[in-house]
Amino acid sequence: VAAAATACSTRPDTAATTGGQGATTELKFVGVADQKAPMDSLLAAYQQAKPSVRINASFAPTDQVQTSVRTQLGAGNAPDLHVVYPGSGSAMSMTQIGQAGLLADLSAQPWTQTIPAGFKPAFQLDGKTYIYSAGSSVIGAVYNKKAFEKAGVEAPPATWTEFLAVCDKLKKAGVTPIALGAQTPWVTQLITYALVPSTVYAKDPTFDDKQLAGQATFAGSGWRQAMEMYLELQKRGFFNDKPNGTTFEQQISMVATGKAAMAIQVSAVLPDFRKAASSPDDLSMFPVPGADDAASVWIPAGVVVGLGASAKGKNVEEAKAFIDFLGKQENINAWAKAIAAIPLTQDASSAIDPAVESFLPFTKDRAVPFMDQRWPNAEVQPVHFAVVQELLAGKATIDEALKKMDEAYQK
């Protein structure tokens, strides 16, 4: 195997320090665009630590990477390392690819022993770990501090009523309270995801298990309340004009420039907002309070997109060795820092982005994984996107929307 691999690598070894072991193993990694920042620095570090392995990395947006990697997996020529989504709710998720026997088992690596219990369903299938992820990100309100100051809002709201009052104040000050880029499909889900932990899981933390067992539905749960709250924000005029015609990029620029005061977003895209703002310190985040009793406000905290090693590749052991390297605490810290995530495991040197500090009190026992990570198939999520767009356009009722989601769930 080693001979074949070296024969394939035609590029001269530029790392002159390797001395006698001139042979280079070349690994291929295909990742999603969000992974570029952390991977670039960690790949450089790995090149230093292990000069005999060269990793060729390429990155693409979510849709494209899902299409191309899945096609490569189907054709049997998957890259040695590739993006994997935690849980079970997408076509490139750990469960779906792991079940097909295409992911290498990582359970023997030391870092897998310290995965927090609440995150295990995202990492493990039948007790075996198939995906590496550096930590979790949260969904909350990314807000422009200057816009809040201008409208005279002193502190972020802690209850739903306070949240509505803040929006009202912002609106009166001539600022769009919430920027919503619902033309970009995945953005549509974030407001429901921000509210459902409080309206569903705070009341019943075992909702996912019940739903999987067929004892609970979207229509008969707090999902209805969350949708009503979503539409209430629209009815009160708290969103920008024409959210269905507005994209994610426009949403970013509205908040970064202070034209809008906040956007309900996932913390992993915080770096994008900071890049667009005149000063990165203008932006911070707070949890969206989905309940009127501050103690029953829960937050969504999901494992961030990760990577796995192809079980069918030529260099499985080398690929696994790289993941083992990523599992070291210092590398978990580095990855998490690059995407403003909360590190999977923490030590004294772990830095938490100040913007997500207000979420930390929740992460222990008032946080739930992103809803789709436990959904049984890849169809529920796109249906959720579509029905939210229909609701925003006034083309569907909440009853119809939840019915469609329940039908997709049962497929």
Binding site: Q66, T67, R70, T71, L73, G74, S90, A91, Q96, I97, Q99, A100, G101, L102, A182, Q183, P185, D241, K242, P243, N244, G245, T246, T247, N377, A378, E379, P382, F385, A386, V387, Q389, E390, L392, A393, K395, A396
Partner: protein, 307 residues
């Protein structure tokens, strides 16, 4: 355009049979086409035909787990609300594109066929969008279709339309974008047809006292029939399998308002991981496109005349 067209009708009895005796006209043309046909067969026909097999399975696209399910995928399709709805969208979109693109294409062709000084330049300008990748055009039009009343097309026309975000408008916005890109393509084909209309027919009609409209109606239009046939067929096929522009602008949304058969089959395969079902939809789409094209060509050919 060629002044010697009058010499064309030659006494058929002397030359044509003689030519045929020396060598067959068809054999060498097949030989010349053979390398291209071979590549086409290997790269297009073989994978397409071998793919048909998967339409009768439940293959997920990854792994070896697969079982034969007979016609189950086709039965699912009949009961699939979303796929059936997308057929309606596909047909509406195709109708709009075929009618408007060819209408504008014909007007453009007549315009740049006239003896204008800048006609060569205008031809290039009208044809230019065709050579741009459809995805690039779609990204460009996302800016043009900015919903802000002061930006893009809204700003230009003084409108306040939610072009891609309003479910009742989005489909037509997509059609408009496609027409903008491909009207120049129809124009070029019509132009070729116009160049082939013999001058002396126009002269004869003028002597008979026919005006501009009558000359178009009774001389140009019948002789444009072959160009119309090919334009109708190409735009119909293009409309029925439209994918890139929708994927890059609305991705089927808002809701399901711009979902077409192509986007549905893409999602079934790559988002939901149902390759078997997706292949079944693709097979139905391919047969449908073939059937529509054949019927179209049959009817349009019948009304073709030659000069």
């Amino acid at each position: 355009v060629t002044p010697i067209t009058t010499e064309k009708p030659r006494p058929a009895s002397t030359r044509r049979p003689g030519r045929r005796r020396r060598f067959s006209v068809t054999t060498p043309s097949w030989l010349f086409a053979a390398p291209a046909l071979l590549v086409y067969a290997l790269v297009v026909l073989y994978p397409a035909i071998s793919g048909v097999f998967y339409a009768f399975t439940d293959w997920s696209g990854i792994g070896e787990d697969m079982s034969f399910v007979g016609l189950a995928n086709f039965r699912t399709l009949l009961g699939d609300e979303q796929a059936m709805g997308s057929i309606g969208n596909t047909l509406l979109l195709t109708l709009a594109i075929v009618a408007v693109q060819n209408g504008i294409g014909l007007l453009l062709a007549l315009g740049v066929h006239a003896k204008l000084k800048s006609r060569a330049l205008l031809r290039v300008i009208f044809f230019a969008p065709v050579v741009v990748s459809p995805v690039m055009v779609a990204f460009l039009w996302k800016y043009i279709y900015n919903p802000d009343p002061s930006a893009g097309l809204n700003g230009l026309l003084g409108l306040d339309v939610n072009w891609l975000g309003d479910p009742s408008v989005a489909l037509w916005s997509v059609a408009g974008m496609v027409v903008w890109q491909y009207a120049g393509y129809s124009m070029v084909i019509f132009l070729a047809g116009l160049e082939g209309v013999p001058k002396e027919l126009h002269e004869a009609a003028m002597i008979d006292g026919a005006g501009t409209v009558q000359r178009f109606r009774y001389v140009t239009w019948p002789l444009l029939a072959p160009a119309l046939t090919i334009n109708m067929m190409l735009s119909t096929i293009g409309g029925l399998k439209l994918f890139d522009q929708i994927f890059a602008t609305t991705n089927g949304g808002p809701g399901y308002a711009t979902e077409t058969l192509s986007t549905v089959l893409y999602k079934q395969a790559f988002v939901f991981g149902k390759f078997g079902y997706s292949t079944a939809i693709a097979l139905v789409l391919a047969l449908f496109v073939a059937a529509v094209s054949l019927v179209q060509v049959y009817y349009l050919r019948n009304r073709e005349v030659t000069a």
